[in-house]
Amino acid sequence: MEIRISGVSKYYYAEGKTIKALDDVNLTIPANRIFTLLGPSGSGKTTLLRCIVGLETPDTGEISIGDELVWSKDKNISVPPERRGLGMVFQTYAIWPHMNVFDNVAYPLQVRGVAKGEVAQRVAETLRFVQLEGFERRPATKLSGGQQQRVALARALVAAPKVILFDEPLSNLDAKLREETRKELRAFLGKLNITAVYVTHDRVEALALSDSIAVMRSGRIVETGTPQKIYFDADHRFVADFIGRANLIKATVCAESGGHSIVDCGLGRIACQQRAIAVGAEATLCIRPEFIRIVKGGAATGDNVVNGTIESLVFVGDAYEAEIRVGAELLLARIDAEAHLDEGDAVHFTLDPAHCLLVDI
């Protein structure tokens, strides 16, 4: 089910100052996709999620879920959270400690007045789906973090909601478990054909889980797109920087030719992915470390070829992370663990224009 958000703002007042937690957000979340709100802390992503659920009241705008208008300032409509028919997984899972697993999962059905027999059957089905069969009588607080997380998921799914929302559900798990749970979650959601809205500040999580991502900053949506678009093709410097490690270099557009934008920058004259930026305008050149392919030896020539020296090398297990000195610029690059290079070696590399991204300043 599609979620449409238009003109939603939310203000907080603290110490005499107004903080815009949400600043005129317009967003359409497509039906039956996994949609992620990604941003640093304080960017308003959780506030937006809570406005969709109804736990937070916006100050302006409209929100509709499917065909139902659930919030409208102008029409004075405010559907309380319990009547929005959603499912949500909280950051802390919010497993009720006084109930066992069965009671936790059965709760949404019980409050909807579903008959006992059907409750038992649907809880059993849902627990099987999240692979918690046989855990019904366990006290919920006696479960591990990952299991609690699946109870929370089961509880959110059991009443077959139109939309399921996740508020940083993996942030309380340790790194290894987080990765496993992420894969599980992706598998579960893939089978379900449900609209999922997922809030996180973890870019890897966002990239791995989502069908589309909206990147937020200071209460605004900066950019929306598929994970590939956000990673390779961001329009904004903030997005390019936030979604992955990037070398950001000041550049000036000097020409357009052969389907490329040509810029002058600290690396020399570089052909980039074409962008509609006027000749003579300033821009930022963004190159991800993994696309800098180092070759030993200096004084190479050619298009998009850059010469430099290795300033530092750090072994990080699967590779070396190197800092390459090119004139005044210092570039981060990843080098194969078996490349036999030393600090001070002269190197060169060739940049593929497709991986040279021009973003706004």
């Binding site: 959780t46 809570r50 659920v53 109804g54 736990l55 937070e56 309380p80 959270p81 319990e82 009547r83 929005r84 028919g85 959603l86 499912g87 949500m88 909280f90 950051q91 802390t92 899972y93 919010a94 497993i95 009720w96 400690p97 006084h98 109930m99 709760y107 949404p108 409050v111 909807r112 607080t141 973090g145 609690q148 929370a152 509880r155 959110a156 009443a159 508020d167 940083e168 309380n172």
Partner: protein, 557 residues
């Protein structure tokens, strides 16, 4: 090092054991003895006598109603107040702090007296005022009843119940409620199915503690119950040992045994419940501040209600006492009443040799008792927190044992002991009794102070190059000081007002303030009582203010 620690642990076990187990032992032995002068002559006649007393059934029934209703009242009120404070946008949240600090200022005895002065049927101020205003023949309220006792005791237990429930409510993860809302449950259903059940251990703990405390309470039963001839166990015991010419400490010990057993059992339940409520702490939320429920139109009326309640808890008792201490006899405030005001009662009290003696004794007990008590507490808390051996565990159980002792019962136990010694009828008997009974109140702030001193704090100071002595001076003592100060003040302010133990142990020559106040009330000398009561409140208040000042100075340094 280890040897020294073991020796310290065992000597503390010996001291604390003597202070807490000994009176119980004497109580048991006493209950099987013929009488104070015939200690050791075994008999079960005292039990037979005590439990076949025709009044006994009524006493038990009264006690049950009194104790359960008062605890229920305090728990429900505390829950209501805690909810308003932590979850809603009620204005002036500072009020709630006042409600939880009151018991430090106003002794229970005086609180009960002030309500009696307001609502007694013959000349209660409020009753007189209502009679005058509406031309009534009879007083509309009678505080001297079971209902009156429940009201006053319920209000007295309210701050403790609040102090148990409010933190539980504040640390409650709001996501638990929010997820219930998202699951389709409305506000009311969420309250009943999620909020209250999650808080259940804290609620039950507050209720259980209320039961224990009101069972041990003597102030309300003696000030309000006795004039109305409503007897509960505490006053029943008191009559056996203090009124009439045939005092019977054997019978009192026999009845006291069941009170003691009930009390200890309930405290065990209470501690299990508090442990349970800690278990209920789930993954803690680090995200959102709790959403505030907007009270809307109910905001001001609810605020008024809380204001009225805190007024009834704080302002009213003091105002009534102060007023009564100035007027010659009970009268409704009027121009005439103000013209008749004088310092007569004050000068009478301050020239009364027994009142002065009581004042002197109480101050001595407060200063010396609290000092000794805190010193003992420091060592006990150190062993409990830092020495993790089985003996330390034993010490912990021993030192918290007296927490569950009803003062009057344990007083009877002490009586059996002191009568055999030259300590009988001396101030030292009271001193020992006080320290033994109130030891947990000194140990608790001390051990939480020790808990704060994580061993890393000490160790990092050592690693930084400070020697053990410098570490002690710069790190440990400053961290411990707030605990020492608050422990001392807590004990001193409790000793100034001590009633239940004193009524058993105090003899002519060892009167203390609370006992003297009780005597005044028995003689109907309300003016003198109020003047002396104000002196008591003054001392308590000065102690509390002193504690705050000293505490702040240490924080600043």
């Amino acid at each position: 090092m280890n040897g020294a620690r073991t020796r310290l642990t065992w000597s503390l076990i010996l001291i604390v054991g003597a202070l807490t187990v000994f009176p119980v032992l004497m109580l048991v032995l006493g209950s099987f003895s013929e009488g104070l002068t015939a200690f050791g002559h075994f008999t079960v006649s005292k039990y037979a006598e005590a439990y076949t007393d025709p009044n006994f059934f009524e006493v038990i029934a009264n006690t049950l109603i009194f104790v359960l209703s008062a605890s229920l009242l305090s728990t429900v009120l505390a829950l209501f107040l805690a909810y308003l404070n932590t979850r809603t946008d009620i204005p002036f949240k500072g009020m709630f702090r006042i409600i939880s600090i009151v018991p430090m200022m106003i002794p229970h005895l005086l609180f009960a007296v002030s309500w009696a002065l307001l609502l007694n049927p013959s000349n209660g101020l409020l009753n007189l005022a209502l009679k005058q205003t509406f031309g009534l023949d009879q007083a509309p309220f009678n505080i001297y009843s079971l209902g009156g006792m429940i009201l006053v005791e319920g209000l007295l237990e309210l701050p403790i119940a609040y102090l148990i429930i409010a933190p539980a409510m504040a640390s409650f993860d709001v996501a638990l409620e929010e997820s219930s809302r998202v699951c389709g449950a409305g506000t009311w259903r969420t309250l009943v199915r999620v909020t209250l059940p999650v808080l259940r251990p804290a609620i039950l703990a507050a209720f259980t503690l209320g039961v224990v405390r009101s069972m041990a309470s003597f102030a309300v039963p003696s000030m309000i119950g006795m004039p109305g001839r409503v007897q509960v166990l505490a006053t029943h015991l008191y009559e056996m040992i203090a009124t009439g010419f045939a005092t019977d400490y054997g019978k009192a010990a026999a009845v006291g045994m069941s009170v003691l057993v009930a009390s200890v059992t309930l405290i065990v339940v209470y501690r299990a419940l508090t442990a349970e409520s800690e278990k209920f702490v789930t993954v803690s939320s680090r995200g959102f501040r709790p959403s505030v429920i907007e009270l809307g139109r109910a905001r001001l009326p609810l605020f008024g209600l809380v204001g009225l309640l805190s007024c009834g808890l704080v302002v009213l008792p003091v105002a009534v006492l102060l007023y009564t201490s100035f007027v010659p006899y009970s009268m409704v405030p009027s121009a005439r009443a103000f013209s008749l005001m004088s310092l007569r009662h004050w000068t009478a009290v301050l020239e009364d040799p027994i009142s002065l003696l009581a004042l002197k004794n109480s101050l001595f007990l407060a200063v010396v008792g609290a000092t000794l008590g805190v010193i003992l507490s420091i060592f006990v808390a150190y062993v409990i927190v830092k020495v993790k051996s089985r003996a330390a565990g034993l010490l912990e159980s021993l030192s918290y044992l007296s927490f569950s002792f009803p003062g009057i019962v344990i007083g009877v136990g002490f009586m059996w002991f002191f009568v055999q010694t030259p300590l009988y009828a001396t101030i030292w008997a009271l001193l020992l009794g006080y320290i033994a009974t109130y030891l947990p109140y000194g140990i608790r702030p001390m051990s939480s102070a020790f808990v704060q001193i994580h061993s890393h704090l000490e160790e990092s100071s050592l690693v930084c190059g400070a020697g053990p002595l410098l570490t002690m001076r710069r790190i440990i003592v400053p961290l411990l000081m707030p605990g020492i100060v608050s422990g001392w003040i807590l004990m001193a302010s409790m000793f100034v007002r001590e009633l239940t133990l004193s009524i058993v142990l105090s003899r002519p020559g060892t009167e203390v303030l609370a006992v003297q106040i009780l005597r005044f009330s028995e003689d109907g000398l309300w003016g003198k009582l109020s003047a002396l009561g104000m002196v008591m409140i003054l001392i308590s208040t000065v102690l509390v203010i002193l504690a705050t000042v000293v505490g702040n100075r240490f924080k600043a340094a």
